[in-house]
Point group: C2
Chain length 267, copies 2
């Protein structure tokens, strides 16, 4: 089992920011990444539909004989982690708990902001997770539906992104948050823009780093570390790979090689 | 057959602008609308995947015993109309030909701009359709991926939309176009913003109106007009209806009632 890969999935390219961080922190692990690009995005879809897609993605990765499942998508993590644990009999790591726990540790004034997709924000998953750690923390959350298309358009630092961020973040600034959770795996690309709007006094929490750390902790606990020489991850997508390869490079910070197409919805 | 409904489909809410225009021009017709909201958008997906989705949508509408199929989605029209005609043995009307024919009729300087999704622009369908009517017309096209999320966010007239439109349209203005095809069913919502950037000298072609006219012509040719008292369309979607009902009202210009959820990908 130690030799098996870690399975990572997302609706598309966003989860590559998490994959990148796992590769950095755990270079000896074998990795399999699945992007459900034929049905992306998940953020505007209902919990029932996202759950169905997440279960199909997990079935595919279990078929690749993974030892752990990382849900590198906030929307899927916010609705599917318990169901995935029941279905797969494997350790399942989502991105919500690690981000929530980091935010709870960082905040001084106990006023935390959360930004994410419509689905993630509506689920209330971050608020529950943060307040489970410290019920005195007030959580202010807002959906930022345009950040994903802006990041995918390569406009993360375009004046349009700045103007959009000013609009979306105004209510959070008004609430005097001192910590902001980037509750979507696309948002790390917008860090400079968010920083320009928020100033240096607000801490930004990027779930990718925290999630990779939790993956390491869980593997250590289970004594499942793999210490092989590093190799390239395997990539699977549900639409033809062209756009994933083109857009994903900016998320991974490296070229994407050997991406294969698979079908999830024809079982 | 005359009594049967007209089937209209789109990836989501955009096609409601076409449905609205058919209702206005042909109030005696029964209408069935299908929005593939579990897999929206089509504009960033590959031709092969969009074709697969379009065929599944058509199969569903044929099962509703429609007399005609209207592809109220530019991306699907740009890749799927011939395949749908072969599959369905029904008249199939897409949105590309009507818009192209209107643009060819309107342009004075034979310099036409086309804006649409990545998929529509990459297909080259508008350029081919316009130049088939008049090979002397030069066509300048550009993808505008942020217009769909801006329209769905309710930001069609927000300063962000204006700044985005200035950026996207600059190369078309530089080409001195006198006519612009709105090659995506979401774009009619952005008309005021586009007008603010382009001024009054550029004609805007909205495919919805032209498509409804072509539907009327085809029905008249086949003697299939229905002259009943108007009734509300039937609506089907592939995700839960909540978001479709909420966002779609702005596209239809009226409340959406009685929306039902169906599955297309579990055949």
């Amino acid at each position: 089992m130690t030799e098996h890969a870690i399975g990572v999935f997302d609706s598309g390219v966003g989860g590559l920011t998490v994959l990148k961080e796992i590769m950095r922190q755990l270079p000896g692990e074998e990795l399999v990444y699945l992007g459900d690009t034929a049905r992306v995005p998940y953020g505007t879809k209902s919990p029932a539909t996202v759950l169905r897609y997440a279960l199909e993605a997990a079935d595919f990765l279990v078929g690749c004989r993974v030892k752990m499942l990382v849900v590198a998508c906030n929307t899927a993590s916010s609705v599917a982690v318990p169901a995935l644990e029941r279905r797969c009999s494997l350790p399942v790591v989502g991105v919500i708990e690690p981000g929530a726990s980091r935010a709870a540790a960082l905040t001084r004034n106990r006023r935390v902001g959360v930004i994410g997709t419509e689905g993630t924000i509506k689920s209330g998953a971050y608020t529950r997770a943060i307040q489970a750690l410290d019920p005195r923390i007030e959580v202010f959350s807002t959906a930022c539906p345009l950040f994903v298309p802006l990041a995918e358009e390569g406009w993360a630092e375009h004046p349009v992104a700045l103007l959009t961020a000013r609009d979306y973040l105004a209510p959070l600034i008004a609430q005097r948050i001192d910590t902001l959770v980037l509750g979507c795996t696309h948002y790390p690309l917008l860090k400079n823009t968010l920083r320009a709007v928020l100033g240096d006094a607000v801490e930004l929490v990027d779930s990718a780093e925290e999630t990779a750390r939790l993956v390491a902790t869980r593997l250590a606990g289970d004594r499942r570390f793999r210490q092989q020489s590093p190799q390239l991850p395997r990539y699977f997508v549900t639409d033809v790979p062209t756009r994933f390869e083109k857009v994903g490079g900016a998320f991974l910070g490296a070229p994407l090689l050997g991406v294969e197409q698979v079908e999830l919805d024809k079982s």
